[in-house]
Structure formats: C-alpha cells, structure tokens
C-alpha cells in the first residue's frame, strides 16, 4: 500500500521545497516504513469517511420530509454512529497492535547509548573493545538493527529521527530502549521532540547510515585518539586548553578531558556543529565561537566575541584538523 514516492515528493516537495531528510515518509528505516504502511490507508480512509459524512449532512439538510420518519433516523444513528465507527476503530486497533509487535521483535546487532543533555546529544557505541565516545552525530550500519539506549540526566528530551522511525522520550531516572533498522544510506535529520527548555528548538543531530564495512572502519577510526596532525598544531592546541575549552570538551590524546560538553576528538569528521545546527566549515566554526549565543540562544557555551583574529585562525585550524 505504499504510494509511488515521486507522487508524494511532487505533492509536498513542490509545496515546501523539501529534501525529506526529516520526513516520516522518506522510508529510510524499516520502522518508519512500517508506520508509513499505516499512513496511506489511514489517509485514504479518513478522506472517504469525511466526504461521506459531509455529503450525508448536505442531503439531510436539503431533504424536506413529508411526515416525521424517526425510524429512518434511528437506523442512521445505529449504522452511521454506532456500527461504522466500531468497525473502523476495531480495524485500526488491530493493525496498530500488529505493527507494534512487528516493531518490537527485532534482535539487535549493535548497542548505542544516547544520553540527552541540554541541548546536545552524547553518543556512546558499545564495541567488544570497549566504549567509543562521540556526540551529536549517530552513525548506523545499513540493514542492521541497532538498539538505542536512551537516557537523560537533566530534563525530559525525546529522540526523533523521523526518516528512520518513531520517537521515544528520554526521562531522568529511566532507560528507554528503541530499535532502528536503516534501509537507505544517507544523512538523515534528527531532533529533540519534547520541549526541554531554552534551546529546545535548536537541539538537533544527524543520523548517518553507512554500508556495514564503511561503518566498521569508521568506528575503528572514531575510537582512536585525535589525529596526530592536529596534535602537532601546538599553538591551536594550547589556545584550546588556555581559553577554557578543555573544561567542558574532551579531545582524546590531549589534556582536554571535560565531560560537560560534546566530545570533540573527531569533530572535523562530523557533518555539522552546534548539535546539528550548522554545516561544518571554517566560516561556521568561527561564527559559532564568536557568536555562540546569537546562533543558539540559551546555549550553555559562552561566546568568545573578543578573541583576537589570529587566535581565532589558530583555534579554528586546530578544530578543523580533528578528523
């Protein structure tokens, strides 16, 4: 019951000019496709029922009965108001429960912990060799089911990558489990769906779906300390340590081991900065460092508007070298 993709894209894409990175109907995950399979029959059924009720209402309004015929009225109440909704909701309930069961019964090949913070995402991969720390970008292998362990330490957040599957809340004191099974490679959007305070609107992330081999190589690289070429940039590194960045950020292989903010060991290998906010680029990094609170009001990281241009060059070069 899946409508041809191009019809849908023409319909909505034409209206909104979208790339579908956040669309429920992008079909990038098996879980999202299960829900999409519900959507189209729901839509068609709803339009049909709505039209039927409206047509009936117009007929009821225009008809001029000769005598009072309450008997017809009662039949209409019984069939239209009682039986029809009962059949429809029973069907909905059963398909919904079957879908729920289909979503729940998938064994997982990989476990990833996602811990929501105000307003970014700590990501920890479980590997046989130990934990691999990352942030704000989640990489998943194509065709494999991944178990996400969702937690939060501050307030309630909600993990949502619409192209891949539904959302699940991250609640202090609880660990919620959710599985995702990507079926299309690419960069997909994700965001926090539960209002979580000041910068909620700008708490985003990316899900990068990769071929399993590429994913394995990437995970090995991600587990390594920072690139030697970056560590050789002494001026940039010492600025990073002296300006206080290290109090919150970790760059493995240096003295920077702050845990308050995102791990930056392989920052330059990610697609975006500021929790999914800006594309990674030299210019955007400068803007982020000097105008942090303008770009993301409420963010915990302070702005460095007065940083001398030379220092800014050095620190940006250092960060861009953290591949």
């Amino acid at each position: 019951m899946r409508m041809p993709k191009h019809i849908w894209l023409a319909l909505v894409g034409g209206l909104a000019g979208c790339d579908g990175r956040h669309s429920w109907l992008a079909g990038a995950g098996a879980e999202a496709r299960l829900i999409e399979d519900l959507f189209w029959p729901f839509l068609i059924g709803a339009v049909a029922i709505w039209t039927a009720v409206m047509v009936f209402a117009v007929i009821a309004f225009r008809r001029r009965p000769k005598g009072s015929d309450e008997r017809i009225g009662r039949a209409i109440i019984l069939w239209g108001g009682g039986v029809l909704p009962a059949v429809v909701v029973a069907a909905l309930l059963i398909t919904g429960l079957l879908t729920l069961r289909a979503m729940a019964s998938r064994p997982s090949a990989l476990t990833v912990h996602v811990d929501a913070e105000q307003w970014w995402w700590r990501v920890i991969y479980e590997t046989p060799d130990g934990k691999v720390f990352s942030a704000n970008e989640i990489r998943l292998p194509l065709g494999k089911t991944t178990l996400l362990m969702l937690t939060s330490d501050d307030v309630i957040h909600s993990f949502w990558a619409p192209a891949l599957g539904g959302k699940l809340d991250m609640i202090p004191g609880r660990t919620n489990r959710m599985t995702l099974t990507p079926v299309r490679t690419g960069r997909w959007g994700g965001l926090c769906a539960e209002f979580c305070g000041a910068a909620h609107a700008q708490m985003r992330f990316e899900v990068v779906v990769m071929e399993p081999d590429a994913f394995r190589d990437w995970l090995v690289a991600e587990s390594e300390p920072a690139a030697p070429s970056a560590l050789r940039m002494e001026r940039g590194l010492s600025l990073f340590l002296d300006e206080g960045c290290a109090a919150c950020h970790t760059v493995r292989g240096t003295q920077a081991n702050g845990r308050v903010g995102p791990d930056l060991t392989h920052l330059a290998a990610r697609g975006r900065i500021g929790a999914g906010l800006l594309a990674l680029s030299d210019a955007n990094l400068r803007r982020w460092i000097t105008h942090t609170t303008d770009v993301k009001p409420g963010v915990r990281m302070p702005s460095y508007p007065a940083m001398p241009p030379d220092d800014l060059d050095q620190i940006t070069q250092f960060l861009m070298a953290l591949e």
């Binding site: 000019g17 729901f42 108001g81 202090p172 209002f195």
Partner: protein
C-alpha cells in the same frame, strides 16, 4: 419581585444575579480568548519565515506557553461555566442558581486569577515551560522562573473557581428544576451540564494535587519528581493527564450540548434518539477517564498498557459517533432553514469530524510514535478544539444573542465572519498536518530554511490572519451599538425550551412564574404555556416578604419540596475572592506572612458570607406559592441544597486526596520497597492514637447532632469537639516527625508529610466548622428543627474521617503487608 433588582451605579459590581454574573463571565472569558488569540498571531508571525527574529527565544517560549494555558484554562473551560450560568436557570424555569453568591465568587476568582496569570507576560515573567509543565524542567526554579509559580498557583486558584461552579451547576440541575420536569424530561443541555460538571469534579482535583506536589518541590525542595531522590517525573504526567484528557471532553461535550439545544429550533424537529444522546454523553465521560495514557505513548511504557489505552482511546469514537449521528438524523427528519447559527454548526461538523479522524489515527500507538509532539498533533488538536468548541460557541453566540441583549445580530456580517473563519481556519491548520509529516516538532521558536518547512508555515500564517479577521467581524457585530434597532421578538427562533418564555425587555428575576412541566419541549408541546407563565398565573409569581425565593424540587421526579431563599447582592463575595486571590498571589512571591494575613481576611469574609446568607430562620414555616401549592421555607439534611453542595464538594475533595494516595502507590510500584530500605515508617501505635482522637472529635459532633433537642448538650459537644481534633493532628504530625522523616530527602518522606499536611489542613477546616456551628447554636440561628449547618458539618467530618482512616491504613498498615520495613 423588586428583590431581584441588582444595585445601580458602581455598586452594580456587587450584584449576584445569574443574568449579570453570566454576562460578565462570558465577556471576561472572551477577553482572555482575544488575548490568547493575539498570542497565537505572534506565534504565527514568528514562524512565517525561517530564522525569524521577530520574537526572541525567551519571549516565544512564554508566548506559546501562555497561549495554550489561557485558551484552555481561561477560555475553553470558563466559557462552559459562563454559558451555563447565563442560560441554565432560565432553561429550568428557575429564578437563579441555588448559590448566587458562589457564582459571583467563582467569577471574581476567575477574573482575578486570569489577569494575574496573563498579566505576567507584561513583566517578562510569564510561564515558559509549555502548558503541561513537565518536571524536571518545571520543578527546577533555576530553569523556569517565577512564571511557573504563577502558573501553578494562579491556575490552582482558578481551578477552585471552576470546581465551585461545577458544584453549583450540579445542584442546580438536580434540585432547581421546575415541578414536573422529571429527569427524563430534562432538556439535553441540562444532561450535558450535569455530566460535564461531574467530570470537572473528578478531573480537576488530581491536577490540584499535582500542582500542590510540584509547588512544594519548587518552593521547599520536597522530593516528588526528582529521580535522584526516589521521585519520578512521570508521576506528574499521570496526574496531569488524568486531568488533561477528561478536560478535552469537558470542553467538547458542552458544545455538543449547545448544538443539541439549538438544533431542534433551527430544524423544527425534536432531537432523534434523545436517550441515545444522554447515554453516549455519559459513556464518553466514563471512557475519558480511562485514556489519559495516550498522551504518554512515547514515554516507554510496556506494550500491554499501550495496547489497553490505545483500545480505550479508539473506543471513545463510538459514543461520539452516536451523538453526531443523532444530530444528523435530527437534521434529516427536520425542515432546517439556513441561518448563521446553523452555518456555524455545519462548520463545527466539518472541522470536528476531520479532527476526530486524525484522532483515531494518533490513538494507534505506532502512528503516534511519529505524530506525537509534531505539528501533526498541533493540527489535530486545533481541529478537535476549534471544531468541537469554538464553532459551536460562535453558533450559540448568534443564537442566544437576542436572549441576552434583546437585539439581533446581522445576518450578512454573520455569513462574512463564518466564511472568513472557516476558510482561515483550514488554510492555517490543514497544512500543519504536512508540516508535521515533514518532521517539524511543536514548540520551536525558529527553524532553519534547509528544513524545508517554510512554504507550509507561511501558508499557515496567512490563514491565521484570515481567521483573525473573521473573528474580528463577529466581535464587531456583537459589540457595535444597536440602539436604533427595535427589540427582538421574545422567541425569534420558535424555540421549544423554557428560556424563551421571557419578558422583553429582559427582567432580573428570570421566569415570571414557575410552571409545571410535562414534556421535553414545553413551548411546543404545552400550548399556551408561555402566556400563562408571562401572566404570572403559575407558582411563585411574587414574594410577600420581598425575598429572593425559588422552588427546590427532588432529584428524580421534580416534586416540589420547599422554597429556598437565596441571598441578594453583597461585597463580601468580592472580598472573599480578592483575599483568596491574595493568598495565592502572595505565596507565589514567597511573602508568607502577608499570605497568612490574607488568609485570615478570607476566613473572616467567608464566615461573614455564611453568617449573613439566606439560610437563617424563616419568618413563617411555609410559603403559599399560588394555585394551592404550599411549601416549607426551610430544609436541612439531605433535602437541602447546602447538604448536596457539601456532599459534592467532598467528592471532589476526596478525588484530590485519591491523587495523593495514587502518588504513594505509584512510588511503591516504582521502588518495590517503599518506604525505602533504611527508613522506618511512623510508629503504628502513634498513628492509631492520632486517628482515634480524630474519630473522637467526629463522635462528639455526631452526638451534638443527635442531641439538638437538648441545647446545652449540643452546645457543649460543639465547643469541646475541636480539642481531640487538634490533639489528633498534633499526634499524627509528631509520628512523622519522630520517625525522622525529612521531605527533602526522599519521595517517601515527602509523600508521608504531604498526606499528613493534607489531613491537618482538613482538620483545621473542620475545627472552624465546629466552632461555626457552636456560634450558630449560641446565637439561636439553629435549633432542633433548623439544623442545616450542623448536619453539613457532620457530613464534612464523615468524609474527613474516611480520609484519615485511609491515610492511617496507607502509612501505618500498608508497609506491614507490602514488605516495606527493612
């Protein structure tokens, strides 16, 4: 009849007539609607284009929180109460509601509380945690400032007013019907008022309990929602949505009621399937309390609970469908002419049915995994609320406008406003479904262009301005001066219900004389009735004592029981509302001493209100109502309206108490061991003693009631009963104290203390009532035949003693069987 005349000049604000209070209530609710509507336009303007900086993040978060809060608490629910206060008495052929001063009190609470909550935005201090205020965000004063306290305390204050109105409306429907209007002859509107007021009674108290817990955590650090100290954020979500979902039907059912009342007049036919409508309304009310978890499908609950609540959520479509089809069948068998109210009713049908269809979609759990907290849900909820509530209310405004003002609205402007509203609404909210499907979450103050949401958002913004223009046209038509228009006919719609048997111009006493009713559509089925009523040929056409009097009947068969004298205008209700408001407002700013002083003023004002009410000894034992009907002028016990009001109040009160018990049991299920290891519960022996002392006080009160014929004994019992009561509370508090319970340490300690506090506060109220009864006896306002106050006090204590026993069982006995003691 001059007794019903409200005071003139500035003293008019002391009036208590339902015709005036209802009008003020309505205008105030619409004023808050306008305010919240302006906030909505601010939201839409901000979201019109990506990366907009029209509003700051901080201000936007306040705006969307206040928009939801004001629309729900200051418009959608109060409008039900306002309309009911305005038309219910006349529809029942009653002169007023049974407690006019309570209506006035409720109105003033609503106005003061609403201005307090809304005004906060002028000081950049509005609540900013979203209208459902999830902790731990809302329980952290460092993240959500004074606005959250304003929200919690301001709305608790307004909820008190809502419950007051609900009590009054229930008693009004049950006891103030005209003679002969048996419960099966009651207009559908009255059925809905009864059902909805009953829902308020069970839905609001859990939220008040939740507000209490959350404010205690914010103000004093008590541990209820903090996971590190044994609390759980989900407790709030349960308490909030046990309120929040019935609330949706509390908003929706009265609006169906309005349509069901207008439709017979507009389509010239009685409602088809009267009893189906009644049963369905009751069915919706029951189901609505069993589906709150569908707001929590994404919190990670077990699949089995998701399945259960999904089924309940789907099931509610059936009784809703029956009600809608009853109305459609009425349209079918009738001969409807197109009029502005019917146009709005048709708009309601189109919009609400669509919202209902997306509703059964989001009740499917996996579908909700995507839809939840996205713009799809924003669209869904506006379709149900605007279709299920705003369109019917606008229809009702056009329909009852002549009833309230003796003038009619313009047909042309009415059509203009309808089509603008209908088109604007759909242009705004239909695209939002797609916006949600493209992944836009709700409550975001900005979005980036690359998200691809801007085209749809701009469309919504344009629609919202068209919608606003339509509402402005309607507002202009309602408010424009119509001095030159000749008065409307008494019954312009040829309606069947009693409120149209009215005098033109409108009089403050409501119906001219109270008739005997023997049919569901009296003005259609009892020919000549309107004229007989207007000529004063029926009961109680005048009062020889120049008192405000109304007939009280029994619940099922509406047999006349007695004549109730109701109080006239007074400033004491305004003083009571203002001082109670001051208690809440001062507590918001932690001005505890001033709050206590305001509380004292409130106590004095309330006692004076009761003392000067119309419940004193009557001048004569009976009143001749005309046509040979002679009725007593006094009633006490379960015949009197006061007893019923107390009974209903205590049902609501017990529901709030049940919310606290729920918290305790919820924590127990969460922890397995509750009290937690290392904490001992208060000593059972001490709890026994405290509860026994309270029972002793209750026993003395019962003895006083039994010994009313021996005045000295009754006086002694009332005077001495507070002693064991006070001692009992001291012992209970001492038990918690000596067990070393510290409410800031763990959720167990906090829950035990809040239960103790609850009982303590209720005993304090009970002692005031004991002393009040004693004073009434002493002043000879009560004797063996006139003992209403004492019997109401006993009734209060009956409930109190049950709550105390339940608390004892929970704190003292439950840990013994649940294995909580280490």
């Amino acid at each position: 009849m001059a007794a019903w005349q409200p005071p003139a000049g500035w003293r008019r604000i002391s009036a208590v007539n339902n015709s005036l209070i209802g009008k003020w209530y309505l205008l105030t609710a619409f004023a808050f609607f306008g305010f919240a509507g302006v906030l909505a336009l601010l939201i839409r303007t901000q979201l019109a284009v990506p990366d907009n900086d029209f509003l700051s993040m901080r201000f936007y978060n306040q705006v969307f929180t206040l928009h939801g809060t004001a629309m729900m608490f200051l418009f959608a629910i109060p409008i039900f109460e306002a309309v009911a206060i305005l038309i219910l008495p006349e529809m029942l052929g009653a002169r007023d509601l049974p407690f006019p001063r309570l209506s006035a009190f409720g109105f003033w609470c609503f106005a003061i509380g609403g201005v307090f909550v809304c005004g906060s935005i002028l000081f950049d201090a509005a609540p900013d945690g979203g209208w459902f205020m999830y902790p731990p965000l809302s329980s952290d004063p460092g993240q959500t400032g004074i606005g959250t306290d304003i929200w919690l305390l301001g709305l608790s204050f307004i909820e008190v007013a809502s419950i007051a109105a609900a009590i009054e409306l229930i008693v009004g429907v049950l006891k103030c019907r005209p003679p002969g209007m048996r419960i099966n002859l009651m207009p559908l509107y009255c059925w809905y008022v009864l059902v909805v007021a009953g829902m308020i009674l069970f839905a609001f108290p859990p939220l008040i309990a939740g507000d209490l817990l959350l404010e205690m955590e914010r103000a004093f650090g008590w541990a209820f929602f903090d996971a590190d100290r044994g609390g759980d954020p989900l407790l709030w979500q349960h308490l909030f949505w046990i309120f929040g979902h019935p609330e949706v039907y509390i908003i929706f059912l009265p609006s169906i009621a309005l349509i069901a009342t207008m439709l017979p007049a507009l389509s010239r036919a009685p409602v088809v399937g009267h009893s189906w409508v009644v049963l369905s309304a009751i069915g919706v009310a029951f189901l609505s309390f069993g589906l709150w978890v569908h707001h929590m499908f994404t919190t990670g609950l077990p699949d089995i609970s998701l399945g259960f609540f999904s089924a309940a959520s789907e099931a509610v479509a059936i009784p809703t469908g029956i009600q809608i089809f009853c109305l459609l069948a009425t349209l079918l068998v009738g001969r409807a002419k197109l009029s502005v109210p019917l146009l709005f009713a048709g708009g309601a049908l189109a919009v609400f049915v669509f919202g209902g269809l997306t509703g059964v979609m989001v009740a499917v759990v996996p579908f909700d995994y995507q839809a939840h907290d996205s713009y799809f849900v924003v669209a869904h909820l506006h379709y149900t609320l605007i279709g299920g509530m705003l369109f019917p209310v606008f229809a009702a405004v056009c329909y009852w406008y002549p009833f309230v003002t003796d003038r009619v609205l313009s047909e042309r402007l009415g059509r203009w406003s309808f089509w603008l509203i209908f088109a604007g609404f759909n242009i705004t909210f239909l695209p939002m479904h797609w916006t949600g499907i493209l992944g836009m979450p709700r409550r975001v103050w900005t979005y980036a262009e690359e998200m691809g949401w801007h085209g749809l958002n701009l469309t919504s913004t344009i629609g919202s301005y068209i919608l606003a223009a339509g509402i402005a046209v309607l507002a202009f038509d309602v408010l424009r001066p119509k001095g030159r228009q000749s008065p409307a006919p008494a019954d312009p719609w040829g309606a069947p219900t009693l409120e149209w048997a009215r005098e033109v111009p409108r009089r403050p006493w409501g119906i001219r004389s109270v008739p005997v009713i023997s049919s569901r559509y009296p003005l259609w089925q009892q020919p000549g009735l309107a004229n007989e009523v207007l000529r004063g040929e029926w009961f109680l056409s005048d009062s020889p004592d120049a008192d405000r009097e109304m007939i009280v009947t029994d619940i099922l068969d509406a047999r006349p029981m007695f004549v109730q004298r109701v109080p006239g205008p007074g400033f004491v209700t305004i003083l009571a509302a203002a001082s109670l408001g001051a208690v809440f407002i001062l507590a918001t700013f932690h001005l505890w001493l001033a709050a206590v002083l305001a509380g004292a003023v409130f106590l004095v004002a309330t006692l004076r209100w009761l003392w000067t009410g119309a419940g004193g000894l009557p001048s004569a034992p009976t009143r001749d109502c005309g046509r040979g009907l002679v009725l007593p002028l006094y009633a006490s016990g379960n015949g009197s309206v006061g007893w019923w009001a107390m009974f209903i109040t205590m049902i609501g009160d017990s529901t709030a108490f049940a919310g606290l018990v729920f918290a305790y049991v919820f924590f127990w299920t969460l922890h397995g061991s509750f009290p937690p290891p290392g904490t001992a519960p208060p000593a059972a022996v001490t709890l026994w003693l405290g509860t026994a002392l309270l029972a002793g006080s209750w026993g003395m009160l019962v003895a006083a009631s039994a010994a009313m014929s021996r005045r000295v004994v009754a006086l002694c019992c009332c005077a001495l009963a507070p002693l064991p009561a006070g001692a009992g509370v001291a012992v209970l508090a001492g038990a918690a104290w000596s067990a070393g319970l510290d409410p800031t340490r763990h959720a167990y300690d906090a829950t035990v203390w809040v239960l103790t506090l609850w009982i303590g506060a209720h005993v304090a109220g009970g002692i005031v009532m004991q002393l009040y009864s004693w004073a009434r006896l002493l002043a000879r306002h009560m004797d063996a035949d006139h003992d209403a106050e004492l019997r109401n006090t006993v009734l209060y204590w009956n409930f109190l003693i049950v709550q105390a026993a339940a608390t004892f069982a929970l704190i003292g006995l439950f840990p013994l069987v649940s294995g909580g003691v280490p």
